[in-house]
Symmetry: D2
Subunit: 285 residues, 4 copies
């Protein structure tokens, strides 16, 4: 597969944005593979994702950032990211004791559905170490308590940086991350919450769903921010439940929704299809 | 169609309940058409719905209540309701200005999907009177404000009683019912809330869903209790949404979910398939 | 609401298409409101929908076609349609005896969800005439049998043309249209088939779904072509069913899916969001 | 967890069936945990699943079959199966080269969601042997071609019998089983077909779904019979797709549906919740 470039852009809406960007690609002999744009009139913002083939592109890959910023980005006040498809993203996975999301991620990685490197599995417990071993992924036991939290988080960040980690997936990791850690990895930590947010924020969502007598349960994947369960939502899904289901049944059914919704978010992240803006996300085609 | 009897039962769980009830029907030559039972171990309660053909049943319909209570109900501390399928339920509809749920109910009534009588359309506004006229249903304009609420609700109850109304459907009726009215019509008022409860309780759910950036919107039908949006849930459904959708789009998409979820609750109610218990509902097959 | 232009384009894929079209709009002071494009590499085709505000557009609306064809369309071998949002589409509805889809369409029209004119309700039976009267839409009884089919279809086409009808919706119309009629109204007749195509093509889909013991039933809206039930699919949806459901239950549940799926297709058609190509459809955002 | 008995019954519908069976359990001091029954009026058949606690049951487990047949089964012409919850079902898995369903089954087994023993993984290829090793499940390479099919199937049956295998799961096993094998394991082989049956029976369903331009793809789990893809359906599900998706995307999205639908069937089988009758299945609560 040949290398292509992906630009994710947002800026205040103004005339000519699409024309400028597509002209930049076209004039330099880039062939557009995908283009998706969105204007949010509510907030007056423009969002765009454009992917083009680099085979005949006149600007060398390592100069594209400079040229784009100089010729277009600066003039329109754009914030933008540039990615190359030949660069495999590098992902770390944080877990505690529940294995279903971890298994699901590893399986998708193993079958080639997730085209990425897994740099590390990090856990505050040792229970899932055997799974990491089965899949030959380095496992790091980094126990965290109230006293050592800052220190252990800094150690974790140092480790992940050394491993050139691009983003982190919390696969039912049962620790609240500090504000400092959230800032360091801003928009680069994806969490799965086991409810249909904003319903049942916080602890014990299945128990509370049972008590409320809901007829659907859900799960939500989102970027982690300092506000617990309040970050930009990437994906959500639900499953029907009934009076037949006990809390244990809800947990069992919920696991499937969790796996699906977390993996969907990871897939979108790996393909650079998500653009968070404020508390919302643009999900490109 | 021949007449059949439907018993909805609940009581503390104890051995022999199914055997006793089915034996009561069988011994008196009733042919069981449907039977569904549920035991909620969490609260130690037994729930049952049984429907049997009355063609050869030895006990005359007007004596079944007496016999059942004397022979079984009393001994097991049962609470139960008896319905006959030949008796068409009588439903009133409350509306304000939004027409989509009203149209949907009238259409299902008109095509025979809802086997019931509509005793009245009641509204605090006159905007939808023309729809009532189109469908030849009596329309009652009963304006309500802070001062006249008690009086107008009592007038409404008197009217509905005179019309032998069994239950009320709030088809996007934008008034909060008083505690007194809720008690009078306990478990006999079905509301549609335009969100996936318990998310976005209260006012402006679509606006708040938009602001939160959710990826699914929903609707919830439930029995009305004195606690706003806290009554037992009958049905819920959701539809996917994306960053492309404005608040107006959410409202448009939401209307479809509202119609579907409200009509599903009405259908279940008409067939005596719902048994509320505390804050939950048993939905029989 | 101000007037805007919508271009639906397809042509063989080639470099610079997006740049050319957006530049055409931008250079003439059109402000792009929506842009969605798609490249189908399988068939080497490019598809695009672009909508722009006409307020400051330098080319007068009645000249846009000429200019676009001369400056761009011809050079790239494009097939394209131009629509203006201020022109309300004009739709005819064909029915037989089943009322649920008709009611649903009329209700959405009545509440403003469908921004269009309904030119006529045409039927080979008189059963639903009263509904047309309720909603004040002209009803035309045009009975069709084997002998008079050609003549009656020609009469229908003449009538619809006189009424400036843009497209036709078959709302459970139980007649097979002739090849000639299909050609005349090519890609302008939308049908609802009461199964999840290609499963259960042809007659009695619910009976056959019951016999096969499926666990989901569905409906499909599609453009009508000379090949029965083989035209390009616009929308599909399903609902879960179980062994509890009789054929009549499947029909009842199916009606809801049919209404939803047909109305979704009509909505997309009214907003010029569908582009059929061969046997497939592009559904723009 | 204490031991309980599960009876799955079907017979011609006749009065008193529920009363007789519940009375049998009750009189002998069995406490009913679950009861679900269904009457199919279309074919005049009665279906029932009843589960009761054996703690105080007067009839010893190994005598229940005799007693039930003598006292009730024979008199009503019942066909029935008796299961005990303390007996872990024993399942074999057949695979070829695709790993996603295998991983999903092993993961659910590993996390305790599937309460069963896996007796063997059987494959006509060696590609997935490493997964069997990772999960410590015996792997048997049994290559099959036109010449050795009968022989190899007999060898497989002998192996599975020796391992006391109760049922077989075809987790994307790409061999057509012989009629003889299907008869031997009648209603004990569960397959996943990668389409929404009866659409796209046979080979290459995703390619054909793409060509037909469907808007939903699906998967179907069913019991295997001698008629390919025609056996009784256990579960079905779908996912939305669009013109954006290539055949490879359909396959990727489809894998998720396949895993879910196959695992749902296995779960139902393990809990003795499925009763096939002719070409349909009763799925109990």
């Amino acid at each position: 597969m040949s290398n292509s470039a992906i630009l994710l852009i947002h800026c205040p809406d103004q005339p000519g944005l699409v024309a400028q960007v597509t002209e930049f690609v076209h004039r330099n002999r880039g062939n557009i593979i995908n283009l998706d744009q969105h204007v949010d009139r509510h907030v007056g913002q423009f969002f765009m994702r454009i992917e083009w083939d680099l085979d005949n592109f006149l600007i060398p890959p390592d100069k594209i950032s400079d040229y784009f910023e100089t010729l277009i980005g600066k003039a329109y006040g754009m914030e933008w990211q540039l990615h190359f498809t030949e660069k495999r993203p590098r992902m770390a996975i944080f877990v505690s004791k529940a294995s279903h999301c971890l298994y699901d991620l590893l399986q998708r990685h193993g079958t080639g559905e997730f085209d990425c490197d897994i740099t590390a599995i990090v856990s505050n417990h040792r229970q899932l170490e055997y799974i990491a071993e089965r899949f030959d992924i380095p496992f790091h036991h980094i126990p965290i308590n109230r006293e050592n939290k800052t220190e252990q988080e800094e150690k974790t960040t140092a480790l992940l940086r050394e491993l050139n980690t691009d983003f982190i997936v919390l696969a039912r990791y049962m620790q609240v991350l500090s504000d400092a850690f959230c800032r360091t990895w801003s928009y680069r930590v994806i969490n799965i919450h086991h409810s249909f947010l904003p319903a049942f924020k916080g602890a014990r969502p299945y128990e509370r769903a049972f008590e409320r007598g809901v007829k659907l349960i859900g799960a939500t994947s989102h970027y982690v921010t300092a506000d617990l369960d309040e970050g930009p939502i990437i994906a959500q899904s639900v499953e029907p439940v009934s009076h037949h289901h006990t809390v244990d049944d809800l947990k069992r059914i919920g696991k499937d929704v969790e796996k699906r919704v977390l993996s969907q978010a990871v897939y979108l992240q790996l393909r650079h299809l998500v653009l968070p803006f404020g508390n919302r996300t643009i999900i490109f085609n």
